[in-house]
Symmetry: C2
Subunit: 405 residues, 2 copies
């Protein structure tokens, strides 16, 4: 139904992007300011953190998106612009700078910041970069934009796909950053999506919420829900399809493609979690309902003990059962099966809530791979859920023991 | 109103204790089986884990305590006797062994196990130790009992205090173990309390719940609620006081003394968390109500990012605010103050939800101590709560990356 292509956020028709080093970060080789521009005014939607502490950019973006339209995204790394008295003022200044650089209206700008909380954002480096940013906007700038929003991320997260909607070839692309303070509740740290399909604002909002519920909201790196989480999407409509409404036959395939793109970005966020050496995927089947399947999957993927065991390739399934038991939803614990799998094979370690004999040697082989799936079979119903996380490592502690310096 | 004394669980009148090496653990120098005996049948109460997965010993103890009385405690380390098909049978066998060793009825035994989940408990080593265990019971055996219940604990947790209740001098003592999978919901991993005051069963049950709510239930080492958590108390009544009922003038001072003893043990559990180098205390004042003050304190003490920052002596108060923001209770975030303190001094780092200038040098000095208090002032009401935790360190990862081998 869709295929992945190159190009990230500039793959869809009508988008250019840029990433520059403006100086918020001291390391001159680290890009720290991203801009994405739509050729035309776009239908837009976003989901935001549910943390009570909200970054100033979140508040300004919410305001700007009230009319369901936007035309540009600006985002800096190195400073979260959160818990500062002058935060909203600075976020509005960023919108003005982006507006001048991209030739759009300040009220049509989505603004975001990521980095340390509680240190005043220096606006001068951003203001000084206005011209360079505008000049750098290009069809090949998606990769620089992806790099500019990274903090402790070790790899660029940029994807695009092509699908057919209403008989027209449409494209969507996205960039994301993750790494630490990742336990999204509405969205992951930051993800910016573009699309050239025409989609009505209400349908776009619903589609984004549906996609995020199964993807970014199922990721946990460290259980900490950031103050600046945001996933946004801009749809240029330049693909020429008939605008998608909720009742359109194209709505379901649009959600499907969008969810797949978000899942691909989410998996990267989990895999590139701070200090991580492994992507952990927790697949739950047989749940009583969607909410309980999700709760079980997130409880296991969030358990520090499970994460540390996976780091050590230790098939300690007791920790999986323990985390199911405190997930806060009713589960028939005596009917739970647990299996581990990876490229190296699959091994069942627990049946009906009790241990079974298994080959520790095979288990160690399975768990030494860098992508592990723990499959949990419940016997409570027919709902399924998948959560994404990573192992807990020495490097997570190292990175976070001294983040500010 | 009370003073700490030596002796642990054998300090109150009418209790002997023992700890031996029976062989569940391979290291011969590690005691792994504890017994506490009451000279007379005691009033007894316990609180248990709220994990849906409950260790077999929990189920058997609940049964035995239905009549509000017990006379002995048996506990092994090295195996949790949880998620095994024959778990309850083995737990009952442990009660019979304890009963013969102590000369009491099997139905008057509190049984507990701690260690790895999902491996069948070998009962032979325990059965073979029956005589040795009985012989070892003595007034000076409290310390051995405390040692025998330790798993990854690095220090013995054993305390006793003396207070006056109803005009009589009464004593209470307790031993506890903690270290990992510590995020109790009703009780910490394991704590056994003794007391020589006479207390009516209903009053004892209520007093224990009150004491635990403010102490063990406010501890988090790693966010994982164990399957085997239990806090139990035996009251011999040999102090000669008039039996304490809920309406008695002695009830409040009894609860106060019991809470203090539980707090002392809880702090040790937090301080000796797996891999910990620091005790972290989170004091919340000005909460809208008890529940929200507790939720805020537990959210901060449980944040991996806050814990890692404390390990690195990094005054990253943004992480404190972030954790307040996702605590799940309404808080006026713009009116929150945050300060750090230790033996080296006190430093306010955030006022009214925003950063203030502070000396990084003083902050580093304050945070380099091994006991740190983070004080959070809310402006929502008059409720207070204190939570106890520890820093997140390389050693936590090391210990849990390869726990079973």
């Amino acid at each position: 139904m869709f295929s992945y292509i190159d190009g990230g956020v500039t793959a869809p028709k009508g988008f250019t992007a840029a990433g520059v080093h403006c100086g918020i970060r001291k390391n001159r080789s680290k890009l720290d300011l991203a801009l994405i521009k739509g050729e035309v005014l776009c239908t837009a939607a976003a989901v935001y953190t549910q943390n009570l502490v909200k970054g100033a950019p979140i508040l300004v973006t919410k305001e700007n998106l009230q009319n369901g339209h936007a035309q540009a995204v600006i985002c800096n790394s190195g400073n979260a612009n959160t818990c500062n008295a002058d935060g909203e003022e600075k976020a509005r200044q960023m919108c003005e700078i982006a507006a001048r650089a991209a030739g759009v209206k300040p009220s049509d700008v989505i603004v975001a910041s990521t980095g340390v909380i509680g240190q005043p954002l220096p606006i001068e480096p951003i203001a000084n970069a206005e011209q360079a940013l505008g000049k750098a906007l290009s069809l090949s700038g998606g990769s620089d934009a992806a790099k500019a929003i990274m903090t402790t991320d070790t790899m660029e997260k940029s994807y695009a796909l092509e699908c057919t909607l209403g008989g027209r070839s449409c494209r969507m692309g996205g960039i994301a950053k993750g790494s630490g303070m990742i336990h999204p509740n509405m969205a992951t740290m930051l993800c910016f999506l573009t699309c050239d399909a025409a989609v009505e604002p209400a349908a776009l909002d619903k589609a984004l919420h549906l996609a995020v519920a199964d993807t970014f909201n199922m990721v946990s790196v460290d259980g900490d829900t950031s103050t600046n989480d945001m996933v946004s999407i801009l749809c240029s409509g330049l693909a020429g399809n008939e605008a998608i409404a909720e009742e359109s036959p194209s709505f379901a395939p649009f959600v499907e493609a969008l969810t797949d793109l978000c899942r691909t970005l989410s998996r990267d966020v989990a895999k590139d979690g701070e200090g991580a050496t492994k992507l952990l995927v927790c697949q739950v089947t047989g749940g009583a309902n969607d909410a309980s399947a999700r709760a079980v999957a997130k409880s296991v993927i969030g358990s520090s003990l499970f994460k540390a065991a996976m780091f050590g390739a230790d098939a300690n399934w007791g920790r999986v059962l323990c985390a199911i038991g405190y997930a806060g939803v009713p589960v028939n614990i005596n009917q739970v099966d647990v299996a581990f799998s990876s490229k190296a094979g699959e091994i069942t370690v627990c049946q009906n809530g009790a241990g079974i004999d298994f080959s520790e040697e095979l288990a160690a082989r399975v768990l030494k791979e860098d992508e592990i799936t723990v499959s949990i079979t419940l016997r409570d119903g027919t709902s399924a859920a998948t959560a994404y996380g990573c192992d807990l490592t020495y490097d997570y502690v190292k990175i976070n023991g001294d983040y500010r310096t």
